[in-house]
């Protein structure tokens, strides 16, 4: 029986706490008496027969939807869209959940005599997936059957010939999505719902959309009104996507939604990485030797080697549920299943929120976590992993631990380099940068070319990463990064600190000397349910 997540009050006997620190770790002693640590739940039980559960979900849909067997007909045009490389994190061991689901769908399509099938990686403005990444996601069998014929493609949000304007929401938001998908008799969307933000109408309305459509909800105003964007009912990001979903539905676009959840078995129960998933006071002698050995070895390795070791890690995530059918009904149940793994009850807010940032975020899979992505991971994702109220009080301090190297992947993140040099030197205000700089980056022909033909994120993507931080930047009084590149941290507008003790000393200037401290022991992922 897996143990639920809980909050530990730190006392004198509490051992040093593990902080992720990029491609490495730190062990930090938190001040006793005024600190607490939020621990995630242990991995919940996986489905015994995932393939059987998928087949069962397809023929027993949720909500107002016919079984998939009844929706598939000879001569129809079928599009299968699926989540891109940003999910799950880290990439999972084969077979990927998308492969399982897509194979099950195609089995039914073959039995129904459907010939016109196309698969689309719904990547919105993310970089295109490479052949290896697509093979990993959909499996070799599906890739070999469809990709050589051009029937397995990456979505192109800048291809004017393959986008279709559908209409506008009642708030004037334009809805434009992939033409092939829009003109299909049926879109089957295959989701991996790693966190509660994923899925629902966001899948189709964002994953298959164009910049023209995305800009209506990927902006500072929307993000500041999403408290948090992990909580659908208090998220303007979701409201906008749901409005767009209504436009899609009313225009006749038919979506059969398949959502899956997974447990947070990120580092496994065996092997050297498994210690990262254990609670510190339960570390055995072997675990302690492992941590010491890993830390020493990693500290002496070149950055490139460390990165390649961590990027090669594939998590033994396992599927915990699968829902299929009508979009909203499916998403409601999926969200409950995500919460079952992630939610941890937390009483009250804190003055100082600490977090150890790992090596990976949704936007640097097989890549580099550059300073902008460090900010987005901490203030965008980790900060927003709450329901109710933020774990840190308004005007409080966030302390993040990450090396924050002044380093960018030149192929994946070309516009990030210019954003770092040209925009962050001028302003850190998301509203100002959206008004003064966004358009020139979004419509830059060179970035557009790289997005469409190379493996680059869209020119506007670094802006979106900064917008992701909008809520946190507005909410907190100060952000400190421990152990980061001083120049890079200052460029981000944050304060650098050498040690956690220094950071706490600096934070005391803002929140006082007896400030309370809460540490998010994440990953594995947790979501604070703050009362």
């Amino acid at each position: 029986m897996p143990r639920p997540g809980f909050v530990l009050d730190v006392d004198r006997s509490t051992p040093p706490i593990l902080f992720h620190h990029g491609e490495g770790f730190r062990l930090e002693k938190l001040p006793p008496g005024r600190s607490r640590v939020i621990y995630p739940a242990e991995p919940i039980e996986a489905l015994k027969n995932p393939d059987g559960a998928i087949r069962d979900a397809l023929v027993n849909p949720i909500g107002d939807s016919e079984p998939l067997t009844a929706l598939l007909k000879p001569g129809m045009k079928l599009t299968i869209a699926f989540d891109d490389i940003s999910l799950p994190l880290p990439p999972m061991k084969r077979p990927d959940i998308r492969q399982r689901v897509i194979e099950a769908v195609l089995e039914l399509a073959a039995a129904a005599g459907v010939d016109d099938v196309m698969l689309i990686a719904a990547l919105a403005l993310h970089r295109r997936m490479t052949e290896d990444e697509l093979r990993h996601a959909v499996g070799d069998r599906v890739y070999d059957a469809f990709a050589p014929q051009g029937l397995l493609v990456n979505h192109d949000a800048e291809d004017p010939d393959n986008l279709l304007f559908i209409g506008e929401t009642e708030k004037g938001e334009e809805v434009e999505i992939n033409k092939r998908a829009a003109e299909s008799d049926l879109i089957i969307y295959v989701n991996i719902n790693l966190v509660s933000m994923d899925g629902g109408w966001k899948s189709t309305a964002t994953g298959l959309a164009s910049y023209r459509s995305l800009r209506h909800h990927h902006n500072p105003q929307t993000m500041r009104h999403s408290k948090s964007f992990m909580d659908q009912h208090k998220s303007e990001l979701h409201s906008a996507n749901w409005r767009m979903g209504k436009v899609l539905r009313d225009s006749g676009v038919k979506v059969f939604q398949i959502e899956t959840t997974m447990n947070n078995n990120v580092f496994g129960t065996e092997g050297p990485m498994s210690v990262l998933q254990k609670r510190e006071w339960e570390w055995s002698l072997k675990d302690r030797v492992t941590v010491a050995g890993m830390k020493t070895a990693l500290d002496h390795m070149p950055q490139r080697t460390r990165r390649s070791i961590f990027n090669s890690w594939q998590a033994p995530h396992a599927m915990t549920s699968v829902q299929a059918g009508e979009v909203e009904a499916v998403h409601k149940l999926t969200t409950e299943n995500v919460y079952a793994q992630h939610l941890v009850q937390v009483e009250g807010q804190t003055d100082i929120l600490t977090m150890g940032l790992p090596y990976i975020s949704p936007y640097n899979v097989n890549s580099i976590l550059n300073p902008i992505l460090v900010a987005c991971l901490g203030l965008g994702y980790f900060f927003n992993l709450y329901r109710g109220r933020p774990p840190v009080r308004e005007g409080g301090v966030v302390i993040m631990s990450h090396p924050t190297p002044w380093e960018f992947h030149p192929v994946h993140h070309p516009s990030y380099i210019d954003f770092f040099d040209q925009v962050l030197t001028q302003t850190h205000d998301p509203v100002v940068m959206s008004e003064q700089f966004e358009k020139s980056f979004a419509e830059d022909e060179w970035y557009r070319h790289l997005y469409r033909t190379s493996y680059a994120y869209h020119g506007v993507h670094p802006f979106y990463m900064w917008y992701w931080c909008s809520h946190a930047l507005e909410h907190v009084g100060q952000v400190i990064i421990v152990g980061g590149d001083v120049r890079a941290v200052r460029r981000l507008g944050f304060k650098p600190a050498s040690t956690l003790q220094d950071a706490l000393e600096m934070a005391s200037d803002v929140v006082g000397r007896d400030a309370t401290i809460t540490h998010l022991h994440n990953p594995p992922i947790l979501m604070a349910d703050v009362s």
């Binding site: 061991k93 077979p95 492969q99 073959a110 039995a111 129904a112 010939d115 069998r141």
Partner: protein, 326 residues
């Protein structure tokens, strides 16, 4: 002193000519004591006249006891032979392309790997292609009248390929009982349900052995399609030649409620045929063919030999047609 009637030299010569002493004197002259002892050990004692010998229990063929081949030292030896000898040879000669191992991701416990059978190269190819952990606890049902014929081939078969003898020429429960015991003891099995190598590259009808064992043990059958081994070492040849091979693993299969072994065996054969179709075309086309009941069969057209050979060589992509050898 009275003189001897003959001299010592003459006496020695006389003794040598006596038939009764000849062997003794020859042995003493031609071999050392050690040699004599060795000969005494090697040479079977003569049987006195009028004595009936006890009938010795035969320890070859289907009676050969292979338990020792699953002991820990034997398993270690087999892993060394497999990785040190067989795998390099297979990689060199067969250059296998392996698909479908991801279908085994949810499989826990033992499995019965059931493959089509073209060649003696199938066994070492499968032994190196089956992924761990099944590879390390694997036994093979091998024809007793071929692999266990004498005291040299029997231990080699048991040790190198982990074989247990299976009687092909008469009905016997011994192999079935032993297989069920081993499956219950978490050993996986490799079996070629055709019973013998294909004579012309097309499969023979699958017998119900794998299906029977699966139904009675609850262990799933993993269908496996092999292609190309008939070029590496076809039936009738003793010298292998390099050729590309393909191994495609299918999803584990269980007997349906109330399904008899023959029907299950037919389903296994269909699954192997679908994997063959997947290998020749692609997965999506194979699924469509399976759905429309047009999966090419494994056993080929019901026609004369040259037309069967013609059909076989034309079905695979990139293969040249060839006339059968006469």
């Amino acid at each position: 002193m009275r003189p001897m009637p003959i001299t010592r030299k003459q006496a020695t010569r006389l003794i040598k000519r006596l038939p009764v002493n000849r062997s003794v004197s020859t042995a003493s002259r031609t071999g050392s004591r050690v040699t004599r002892m060795a000969k005494a050990i090697v040479k079977a004692p003569s049987v006195p006249a009028g004595v009936d010998l006890l009938k010795k229990e035969k320890n070859v063929g289907s009676s050969y006891d292979t338990d020792w081949a699953r002991s820990y030292p034997a398993r270690v030896a087999r892993v060394l032979i497999l990785n040190g000898v067989l795998k390099p040879i297979i990689d060199l000669l067969a250059t296998p392309t392996i698909h479908g191992t991801d279908r085994l991701a949810d499989l826990e416990g033992p499995a019965i790997f059931a493959a089509n059978h073209h060649s003696h190269a199938d066994t070492p190819l499968m032994m190196t292609a089956i992924p761990e952990p099944w590879r390390n606890r694997l036994f093979i049902g091998a024809a007793a009248d071929y692999w266990f014929t004498n005291r040299v081939t029997s231990p080699i078969s048991a040790l190198v390929i982990g074989a247990i003898p299976v009687e092909r020429t008469k009905v016997s429960r011994k192999a079935i009982d032993q297989s069920l015991e081993l499956l219950a003891d978490e050993w996986s099995m490799l079996i070629f349900p055709e019973g013998a190598r294909s004579p012309d590259g097309w499969a023979r009808p699958f017998t119900s052995g794998a299906a029977f064992l699966s139904s009675h043990s609850g262990v799933p059958v993993v269908p496996v399609f092999l292609q190309g081994t008939n070029k590496v070492l076809p039936k009738g040849r003793n010298i292998p030649r390099p050729a590309a091979t393909t191994v495609v693993f299918g999803s584990p299969m269980y007997a349906n409620e109330g399904e008899d072994s023959r029907a299950f065996a037919a389903r296994i054969q269909e699954a192997v045929a679908a994997l063959g179709d997947e290998s020749a075309t692609d997965w999506w086309q194979a699924r469509r063919n399976a759905a429309s009941d047009t999966t090419p069969s494994l056993d080929g057209p019901d026609a004369v030999s040259w037309r069967r050979s013609w059909a076989r060589t034309s079905k695979a992509k990139g293969q040249r047609r060839s006339w059968p050898k006469v």
